[in-house]
């Protein structure tokens, strides 16, 4: 039995729009699952249903077998970290962290010890007497995390906790959050619109769109084997084009007059069917570096130096495709306007719904 069971949950705020539709997810104990999607996709609404701040229109939420669907938020023992930190301005860092324990009428000694333990965990042992307005954004978010962990909640919910921070601090803090979550073995749900965050942090990722779950899988699966066009487009940079199935038995397609082969099963498809094919930029390479199953004639449109990666835009028929290659200062790149051949394996060609 899953530790956290979000069972066919739907939420509508009015008759015409469903914010969440048939959300069904089982999370194991100690797992960190991210909800990833664009703004308005229902990820925060789903999180708030688990927290108890929204009531689902249909469906159930269970933690460790207990139905908590109708429990008020202050009875659920679910810790939450908010996007806006939500530290209590009238309390010190120590008082903020100990607040939940004080409400639960824990002994003063226990509170003091736990606060000290958590301050050490978040690498802020000398900050107990400071007020929130004396802290940086990153420090405030660490304190918010410590406060949410103080009562040893069964589930930790994080609602875009890093989106208000600058990029460098985000990268550092997400590694810290993941390390703390692993160390404590706490089950966590992490809401984000940042795919890099979701992919780097999570055991599994739920990609959402328009209130629905598009795909659930490990970061590897989501990135390399997207099941829908939305997932393919949303996660990572992706080249997607229209193609026609030419020979389903031999997995052959035609893209704007050029032939492609895929390793994906063509079961259920017929010759003449129009599909969307997707190829990740890093799966394309110059044919001069080694010839693979697929060969495409193209013209160099643009070359962008991104540091460790060089992104080449190539025109294949009517389509512009991105091709990412590792920066090699000793490799001579073609020039804009050059006609070249690019190649990719059968496995690189994804057929998405």
């Amino acid at each position: 039995m899953a530790f956290l069971d979000i069972n066919n949950v739907s939420k509508s705020f009015n008759k015409d729009t469903a914010a969440v539709k048939d959300f069904d997810l089982q999370v194991e104990k100690g797992e960190l699952v991210s909800f990833l999607g664009p703004s308005g996709c229902g990820k925060t609404t789903t999180l708030r249903i688990v927290a108890g701040f929204e009531k689902p229109t249909t469906g159930l939420v269970r933690i460790d077998g207990k139905d908590i669907t109708n429990q008020p938020p202050n009875k659920r023992n679910v810790g939450m970290v908010f996007q806006a930190y939500a530290l209590f301005p009238n309390m010190t860092v120590g008082e903020n962290i100990g607040f939940g324990m004080k409400v639960a009428k824990k002994p003063a000694e226990e509170i003091k010890s736990r606060v000290s333990e958590l301050l050490t965990l978040i690498h802020m042992p000398d900050f107990g007497d400071r007020y929130p307005n004396q802290l940086s954004g990153g420090q405030q978010q660490r304190v918010a995390l410590a406060r949410a962990l103080a009562l040893r909640p069964e589930v930790l919910l994080l609602d875009e906790p890093l989106s208000a921070l600058d990029a460098k601090i985000r990268v550092a803090l997400r590694a810290e959050i993941r390390a703390i979550q692993r160390q404590l073995g706490i089950t966590a749900i992490y809401v984000t619109h940042d795919q890099e965050e979701a992919l780097s942090l999570s055991d599994r990722v739920v990609v959402m769109n328009g209130g629905k779950m598009e795909q659930v899988g490990t970061p590897f699966e989501i990135y390399n084997f997207p099941k829908t066009e939305f997932v393919a487009q949303f996660v990572g940079v992706l080249n997607s084009t229209r193609a026609e199935i030419v020979d389903p038995a031999n997995n052959r397609l035609k893209m704007d007059g050029q032939h492609l082969q895929t390793a994906e099963s063509m079961d259920g498809y017929h010759a003449g069917d129009q599909v969307v094919v997707a190829i990740r930029p890093e799966r394309l390479s110059f044919a001069s570096d080694g010839h693979k199953a697929n060969l495409l004639e193209c013209t160099i449109e643009n070359i962008m130096f991104l540091g460790s990666i060089v992104r080449v835009t190539v025109k294949v028929g009517q389509y512009n495709l991105f091709m990412d290659t590792f920066n090699n200062p000793f490799l001579e790149l073609p020039k804009i306007g050059d006609k070249v051949q690019i190649t990719c394996s059968r496995e690189a060609v994804l057929v998405v719904k």
């Binding site: 938020p73 810790g79 939450m80 209590f88 301005p89 607040f99 409400v103």
Partner: protein, 260 residues
């Protein structure tokens, strides 16, 4: 000094003169009780009148009770409107502005009619005075609290407290009230000033408050009312100074509620 700063200084000086000259005139007049010399005789007469202390003390007690009842009524209401009932905020704001529009005499007679018969008879009880004072001070208290609530993220703070196991009482008294301290004090001092100086209600309901005493003294004496006016100005400035002091000293709070 450049031209802009010179003009700013000139306008500032004109503003100060416009504000302080009448006050200085009142103060100067209050010192003329004894012919030919400046003295504090008017102040001595005021402070030696036992009715001054009786009426001041009476109004002071009712001011405190008004403030307490007002806080218990308005702060949870404003908080709930901010949290759950944002759509009716314009309606609430309209209601809280009504005391500006309806004359105090009409309010007083309305209260007498409403509470002059069963089931709730308050005429003859000073409780009716509190009801009237709460109504008169409502715009100021509500506005002060509303300004304070706008400066904090009420919803997220409430949800954060709930996620940590807090009930409504804990949220109100441990989170919301402390973070509205400056705003509440602003409303408290305004309410205090209104109650202390209020005349119509106390006069119509026939209670020995400070407002009717001031009016009576004004009718009978020349210099003592001016002395009392200076004293009330000083009290007002003291209250505002206390608000500023508290606002500066409040940890983690950058707001000062704007008083009308």
């Amino acid at each position: 000094m450049n031209q802009k700063r010179i003009w700013a200084l000139i306008i500032f000086i004109i503003g100060m003169l416009y504000f302080f000259i009448p006050l200085l005139s009142v103060f100067e007049f209050s010192l003329r009780a004894l012919k030919g010399i400046y003295s504090f005789e008017a102040y001595r007469v005021a402070f030696q009148d036992p009715r001054f202390y009786e009426s001041f003390g009476y109004s002071f007690v009712w001011a405190i009770l008004t403030i307490l009842c007002s806080m218990l009524l308005i702060i949870p209401t404003a908080y709930w409107v901010h949290l759950k009932l944002r759509k009716i905020k314009p309606v609430i704001e309209f209601i809280t502005l009504m005391p500006f529009v309806v004359p105090a005499v009409v309010l007083a007679f309305g209260l007498i009619r409403l509470y002059g018969k069963p089931p709730l008879v308050l005429t003859g009880s000073p409780a009716l005075l509190i009801v009237g004072y709460i109504t008169l001070s409502m715009p100021y208290m509500y506005r002060a609290v509303d300004t304070g609530l706008r400066a904090i993220d009420v919803k997220t703070l409430t949800e954060a407290a709930q996620s940590l196991g807090a009930g409504w009482g804990t949220i109100l008294f441990k989170i919301i009230f402390p973070n509205l301290r400056v705003a509440i004090l602003s409303g408290v001092f305004l309410t205090f000033a209104i109650v202390m100086g209020e005349f119509t209600f106390a006069s119509l309901l026939v209670w020995p408050a400070f407002g009717p005493y001031m009016e009576e003294i004004g009718a009978m004496r020349a210099y003592t009312p001016q002395a009392l006016s200076v004293v009330s100005f000083l009290l007002t400035w003291l209250s505002i100074g206390l608000i500023q002091r508290v606002a500066r000293g409040a940890p983690g709070q950058g707001q000062v509620a704007g008083a009308r």
